[in-house]
Amino acid sequence: MDLSVTSREEGGRTVVEVSGEIDVYTAPTLRERLNELVGAGHHHLVVDMEGVEFLDSTGLGVLVGGLKRVRSHDGSLHLVCQREKILKVFRITGLTKVFPIHDSVADAIAASSSAESGTAS
């Protein structure tokens, strides 16, 4: 199954909907797409992974890279994921402490927005 990446604006955030398999072969596509978005000034990302069937360490590396990029612009990267098999990958690698992971896009947008207003100074 191929990787599909689409994005839209919602609630002042850029929602990146990813579906399919993120692995050593497809991860570069996701990296390019995230880089394009950040390069175009989208610094607050919500990556919706509900449609992701498979995630490997290369994909994790791309997400970590995306997080670093948005943070260098004072941005944020929130994830949406409820699938146990994908969450397990974040848990085993300790990345649940690095990424805020939410149950829904609405929750992620709300958390992302309140975090920004809370830290704006």
Partner: protein, 146 residues
């Protein structure tokens, strides 16, 4: 003697094929879906690692041995001539995320990695008893790490 052996050129697109083959063998051996997810991830990591380490004119190979209620997997890379320097790009530094996933998903993992020599990742899974009444699925398998 492996139950199924697969040999492929070191291209990222073949890693998915290797995962599919491994999961098909494990499923046929009776492993439940929860363990198939672990096997899929760990073997994907081992094969991706081997692809990065193997010269473009060589092959990655994967041996799957279904021994009753136990699955042994060995993924061999072929880095014979990598001593040339950083041409291939994957200079040999291990990805801690990949190692964490292999260690976290397999029951036993060992990584053979001598400088400039072909390496191998060995992983083992034991078929768990019914998930509902499995207080402690056998011992540790006995395989040592390192």
């Amino acid at each position: 003697m492996p139950t199924v052996a697969l040999r492929f050129s070191p291209l990222a697109e073949h890693v998915r094929t290797a995962r599919l083959v491994a999961v098909a063998v494990a499923r046929r051996a009776g492993f439940p879906e929860s363990q198939l997810d672990e096997i899929r991830i760990a073997i994907g990591e081992a094969c991706a690692r081997a692809v990065l380490r193997t010269r473009s004119d060589a092959f990655v190979s994967m041996d799957l041995t279904d021994d009753h209620d136990r699955l042994d997997v060995v993924v061999h890379d072929d880095r014979r001539d990598v001593v040339d320097g950083p041409v291939g790009g994957a200079g040999g530094s291990e990805d801690p995320l990949a190692l964490a996933l292999m260690a976290g998903m397999a029951e036993a993992v060992s990584v053979d990695d001598e400088d400039g020599a072909p390496g191998a990742v060995r992983m083992t899974w034991s078929l768990h008893a019914e998930p509902s009444d499995a207080p402690s699925p056998r011992g540790d398998g006995g395989a040592s790490g390192s």
